[in-house]
Symmetry: C2
Subunit: 394 residues, 2 copies
């Protein structure tokens, strides 16, 4: 099966990136974001034999489902088929490299700038941007008749975002121009996946480093389209609502203003972005990056903010790498508003949270009994100290 | 400074364990739980020189504080002095071994059964059971005048529980009699610490295995007395309240009854305890252990339940170790009711949560972008499959 559909548009309306989409041999969608026009990605056919076709969506099996935790009022994703996912392959078998003669990979092209495709081992599936929304839908809070722990289809979508075709690069080694292309991909995917029926939240993130369980070294991130609002987001929405009722102001705006005024936890800033260590940081080195003009999600960022992000974010990532003289294992998490809650969308403030699990040379922060058992975080580093060290890591 | 106070009572009123307390050279309290009477622990003086005295309590410094996260409505513990804590010492320098001639340790006795002492590198401090409650108190939710992220003293108490004087043992290798002595210690500490002003929750737990960051191999657990109710507990209390309002029944009772009736996730049970994999398990292998008769906390367990716990829990731990033919890294977390919320105490159901981070031989479950960034758990193992494997691991 070759490409079944292609399109060639300019994401976002300006000449920032050229978008083309096609299908992989097993039916998954692949979307190229190119920095130069005129590449006909439909010609790059996936010639792999023997890839099992993507199973029919919308079925609810114990192996791929979301289940409701009756003690905590949260959905948990069960994704048993992921146990067999590719695990630290040797460099010459990296599935995220461009394809080469005799070595077909997940990307049937001989090079790419930024490419997004549906994860071969997805935690959630069924939501399709090309074929129309398939069976499935949001995981609504159950009622008493559903039993103690009802199960729903593991509906949603999981995408992989490759930041560069260079296997040995890292996000921190990208150019600002490339970061802008990645931003175009994130914004496009946020808008596209948010428009699918049953998607309640879109989450763009990057895991970097074996220390946090990364199974592929090639620079890449992931995008999850959830059929529910994530617990952390629910908490922020509830807090922001309570704060507005109490203070008559916006929680996110007030937090950023307070950090700018205080200054002790600031790391860096430019005209469009502000980066600071949160006052009650959970992680040894944790930074929140807010756009100066509050927006709902990545798709709502204007052109100047998109263009100004790369320089600032690369600066932050390189400071993380300099902290201990070795590449930092980190998680970068874009916090966006829920998709269908109009009040939450009005008040929410998009931000990026970046944190490393390294607390000292050779020592990692583990989530042990207090964190994993009770949800109580213990941070060994005073947030102001972390901010000072990050400011000094130039 | 030698022992400043001793007492000799029988914890719980029956001849289960003999309790003696004393002081270490730096002023910290140490409490022995002996299986035989008549040991005068006051004679075992801590002769170490050069231990810095415990700093005066109740002060609020940035290095030891709790801070309120304005985005999530949760307290985070900042404990900077812990960065220098003892990290994987060689076996002949283990600070939890009994003292030997020329080698004083944290336990100034030549052997012990179960011993509890205040952590030398505590995350929380100030709450004292011998000297009366010192300055400090509960961390109340702040109001607007407190600023975005107020700080409070890092008040509370952190204790270490040594399960045996045998350095190379593990909890799973203890005798049922010894588990009962550990249970007496847990129940005593729960009652004692709950009685201190400003303590809002008592948390007994064990981290086992370098894979989850354990820095001392000697078999031991920990007890935290928090100045707030932990986030996970708050969630369970809120859910249990909503369930009672909606269903007119008790959430914990109904969950246990549903699992007993269904059976597919049961692991083992006896007359006083039931062990099952939770229906929406977050961890590859996770077991909840509930007493048959619902109680508020460990101190409220009756004698038959205390006596029956060891056999069942040892069975569960040994199943974990057999899963992959090698000792399982695990976290064991006792979930108890909040201390001062009368309604929550009436409804809460004490239970033990045990889970391993190992998902397959040589593969760990990492908390990466979805879990650490969003609070969304992805479990690779179907809970019914986990339960079957645990049932078969005999």
């Amino acid at each position: 099966m070759g490409p079944v559909g292609t399109e060639s548009t300019q994401a976002g309306g300006r000449q920032r990136a050229w978008k083309n989409s096609a299908r992989l041999a097993d039916g998954r969608e692949i979307i190229y974001f190119d920095e130069t026009p005129g590449l006909n990605r439909a010609l790059a056919r996936d010639l792999r034999d023997g890839l099992a076709p993507v199973p029919p969506p919308g079925t609810c099996s114990p192996e791929q489902a979301v289940r409701w935790d009756p003690l905590l009022d949260e959905w948990v994703i069960i994704a048993a088929q992921r146990q067999e996912r590719t695990f630290l392959p040797p460099p010459d078998q990296c599935p995220l490299d461009p394809s080469a003669p005799g070595r077909p990979t997940e990307v049937p092209a001989d090079s790419y700038d930024v490419v997004v495709f549906e994860n071969r081992f997805p935690s959630l599936r069924g939501a399709s941007a090309i074929g129309g929304t398939e069976a499935g839908g949001p995981a609504k809070p159950p009622d008493l008749d559903d039993g103690m722990s009802p199960q729903r289809p593991g509906y949603g979508r999981c995408e992989v975002v490759c930041f560069t075709s260079e296997h040995s690069a890292s996000f921190a080694s990208l150019t600002p121009r490339r970061v802008q292309t990645v931003m175009e991909a994130w914004a496009d995917r946020t808008a596209t996946l948010s428009a699918l029926d049953g998607v309640e939240q879109v989450y763009c993130f990057e895991n970097r480093g074996e220390e946090i369980g990364v199974t592929l070294h090639h620079p890449h991130g992931q995008i999850y389209a959830f059929p529910f609002v994530a617990p952390r987001t629910r908490q922020m929405v509830a807090r922001s609502r309570a704060y507005a009722a109490q203070a008559g102001r916006n929680l996110f705006d007030d937090l950023v203003a307070a950090e700018q005024a205080d200054g002790t936890r600031m790391v860096t800033a430019n005209d469009h972005w502000t980066a600071f260590v949160p006052p009650a940081a959970r992680w040894p080195y944790e930074v929140l990056i807010f756009p100066t003009r509050r927006v709902t999600d990545l798709a709502a960022l204007d052109d100047p903010a998109r263009a100004a992000f790369g320089g600032l974010y690369l600066d932050v990532l390189r400071r993380f790498d300099r902290l201990f003289g070795t590449p930092a294992p980190y998680i970068a998490a874009w916090h966006q508003a829920p998709v269908t809650d109009a009040e939450a969308r009005r008040d929410f403030g998009l931000h990026l949270q970046v944190f490393t699990v390294r607390r000292a040379p050779g020592k990692l922060k583990y989530l042990a009994g207090t964190e994993s058992g009770m949800g109580v975080w213990v941070n060994d580093i005073v947030p102001e100290t972390a901010a000072r060290r990050l400011r000094e890591a130039r």
